[in-house]
Each structure stands twice: as structure tokens, then as C-alpha cells.
Symmetry: C2
Subunit: 136 residues, 2 copies
Amino acid sequence: MPTNAKWLNKVRWDEHGLVPVIAQEAASGDVVMFAWMNREALARTVELGEAVYWSRSRRKLWHKGEESGHTQKVLDIRLDCDEDVVLLRIEQKGGIACHTGRHSCFFQQLKDEDWQAVEPVLQDPATIYSQDKKHP
Amino acid sequence: MPTNAKWLNKVRWDEHGLVPVIAQEAASGDVVMFAWMNREALARTVELGEAVYWSRSRRKLWHKGEESGHTQKVLDIRLDCDEDVVLLRIEQKGGIACHTGRHSCFFQQLKDEDWQAVEPVLQDPATIYSQDKKHP
């Protein structure tokens, strides 16, 4: 997939060349993750049919699940009205999107003026990653 | 709602003092919008029970629906694992979140290497806004 494709030019990349990306599990409708892509990441995502993000902390392409096995098969790619946000509808392999071992990254709920973890850990993070690596 | 509340300090505001916010319609599960909040916007959202964003273009608080009537009643507020993204579960008044008159802002689908509008306009934008104002 060439990174100068016309459809890639329609995306309004921010000052860092990135676009925010929302990953929504197609079957459940759950929003499971939020990350960023650059032009190459989006091109690779389309090419591969699996989510490839740009890790801002590691400053490199990040094929989601490359270590954990929790890849995201991409079923649908949407762009918003302002062309500056992408929404993926995905199949979440293993049912776990979060590096904490939870289904979704959005497990902290505001309740009684505090953030409370309201979703269970499905898998011990220590057993997810071969090395002691955090979510990039 | 004081803007120095402890739960507001847990949010990892970016270098502009903002956090990305995803708005998901609770009933349908549809992701309808993406916007930004600053500390005051999130405090006001909780206080009001309706989504208040920070308009980066107008550089002011934006009570969603203040012109269109398409307010968003907030049912649930989540924070992600890294504490730098907020997810709202909302009731979308009028069923229209997008300034184009569509249900969702994410109406452009990548298909045959192009973005194609795949959701109908439910209301003529000219009749939504009293003045000729675009989505901030």
C-alpha cells in the first residue's frame, strides 16, 4: 500500500503527522482502545487487515498484539466529518485489548468522585507478555 | 465542581491541558463523536450531566447542543488504563451528533481505496443551526 495514496491524503494528519484512532469491538460494540496512527501505520493496517498503530512513546510502528498475541482484525475503517479521527471496527483476538489483561482499556469508572476499576482482569499481564513490557 | 478535585488530577492532561474524549451512544453502542476537554470542561460535564467540550478552534468551552439542541446526557464516564483518554456513554438528544445532520460523525467508510459517505443525513444542517455555524 503506497503511503501517498489519495485516500491517505484526505486524512487531516495533526502537526505530528498523527491521527487519533478509536478501536471498537464489532460484535459487542465495546470501545476497547484508543491509540494513534501515522500515514504508514494506516497504510499497513489496510494492507495487513490488522491494526498497526504508531507508538508515541517508543516512536515506532506497533503491530498491536505482536507480543501479546492480542491482534485486532480490522473489519471496517471510518473517518469522521472533519477527517481528523479514525474509527476501527475490529475483532479482538483473545478478547483482551488492554495491557492490564482486561477486555477494554476503559475500565475505570467515575463514581463518588473517584475512578474505580469496574472490569475484571481476564488474564494476568505477567503471562501475556514474554518480556516485562508495558503498553506502548 | 471545583477544578482542583482529586479525581481531575488523576487525568493525564496533555501539553495543552486537554484530554481526548470519545462519545458513545449508550443505547446503540454507536461511537458518535470525538472531541477534547480541558479540566474545566470535564468538571462542568459532571456538574451539568451533559457533555461540555473544549473547542480547540474557538478556544472556549462548548456545551454540545447549545445551538443545535442536540445535547448529550452523560450516563457514564470512563478513563482508560493510561489515564489519558475519556469515554462517555451518552444519550444523544435528537439522535443527531454530527454537524452534517447525521447520527454519527463517523459516516465516511473506507471502500475501494476511497472514503464514501455511508450514513444518511437525517436533518438539513441549515435547519439545525440558527446561524451559519460549523461544528467547532
